[in-house]
Symmetry: C2
Subunit: 200 residues, 2 copies
């Protein structure tokens, strides 16, 4: 079971991992996701033990916790934007158009410590490898930070089975249904990305 606690070191001793931890204070650590699903993919980890062991659906019922995190979310968004812009430029030169950034929590996390994903929405990360990865960020399986607190009747509060079924649904990109053909969809996604961005 210990893989479920892979994030513990960054909460307990962020100072030990300068290559992974971009920022930390007494409340949070902001780290680079070891298996990025977007070109840039960070995680915000609340360091408070009680908060960390809760699911996002529960932890973010508390307004204080949400408010406390807002500033860190904005900070992480800025870090993500800067990291992306440092690596990628639009071919059309229109620097006003910014890569969209997603801030969310998975409705059924696999790691036991609360973590907020902050990632560019290109879906071109090195470790975007399968249908579950893709659907975990493109369906309601992902709970956007601005959706918290969830309404009482939100299925994601109770219905783990329905959440998990979202990961198995057909792959949809740009209005097209790719059924289960992850590789074909990924090829199209990368093709489109390469039409818009060039690496610096």
């Amino acid at each position: 079971m210990s893989y479920r606690y892979a994030l513990v070191p960054y909460i307990r001793a962020p100072e030990k991992y300068p290559n992974v931890v971009l920022f930390y204070d007494e409340y949070v650590s902001i780290i680079k996701d070891a298996f990025p699903k977007g070109k840039v993919h960070l995680l915000i980890l609340p360091r408070n033990e009680e908060t960390s062991k809760q699911k996002s659906q529960e932890a973010f019922k508390d307004e204080k916790t949400r408010k406390m995190l807002e500033a860190y979310v904005h900070q992480a968004i800025e870090l993500t934007q800067k990291a992306f812009d440092k690596e990628w430029r639009r071919i059309d030169g229109d620097d006003e158009k910014k890569m969209k950034i997603l801030v969310c929590c998975h409705s059924v996390p696999s790691l036991n410590n609360l973590h907020i994903h902050v990632l560019t929405t290109d879906m071109c990360g090195r470790n975007m490898k399968n249908k579950k990865h893709y659907n975990s960020f493109t369906t309601d399986f992902a709970i956007r930070f601005d959706e918290f607190p969830l309404k009482e009747d939100d299925f994601r509060l109770q219905d783990k089975g329905k959440c998990e079924s979202l990961l198995k649904q057909d792959l949809v990109y740009n209005g097209a249904n790719y059924k289960s053909s992850f590789k074909k969809m990924q090829a199209k996604i990368h093709e489109d990305f390469d039409k818009i961005y060039k690496h610096i």
Copy 2:
């Protein structure tokens, strides 16, 4: 679609393929199966065009056709027995015990030319690679030559769907159910074979 006619050359011009054709006359060719599912695996191919294009269920309703083939079946069995004995010896030295030989047709063939399988029942052929291969020789999907002509109510005369479903059933070997674990079953089959036979 032309792969469905892979056997045509051995019917039309058996004299051209001495490395594959073990015997031929005006009625049949007996060839080595290119993808053997037993240690020895031959095919009897009736050369008559009308016969060849029928399914076994139809062709062997005709008694003359069956009778014509009987002698060739016995010949093919002898060839198979000799070829096996030339390569493999029982470790216990009991030469009276003979490897069993199966003579059958597939109820749903993939190749369009009528072919009778004659093979040792060791299930250890070089090309025994998956569940469908195995079930195609160990279930009623295989119609033994001595079952022809089929009774009128035999499902294999009409129900292609039921025939094909037999290929997907659980793997059974020596009374044990291996579900879909082909590799595990195959390991056991080879282990058992190696306990009884040694290569010459």
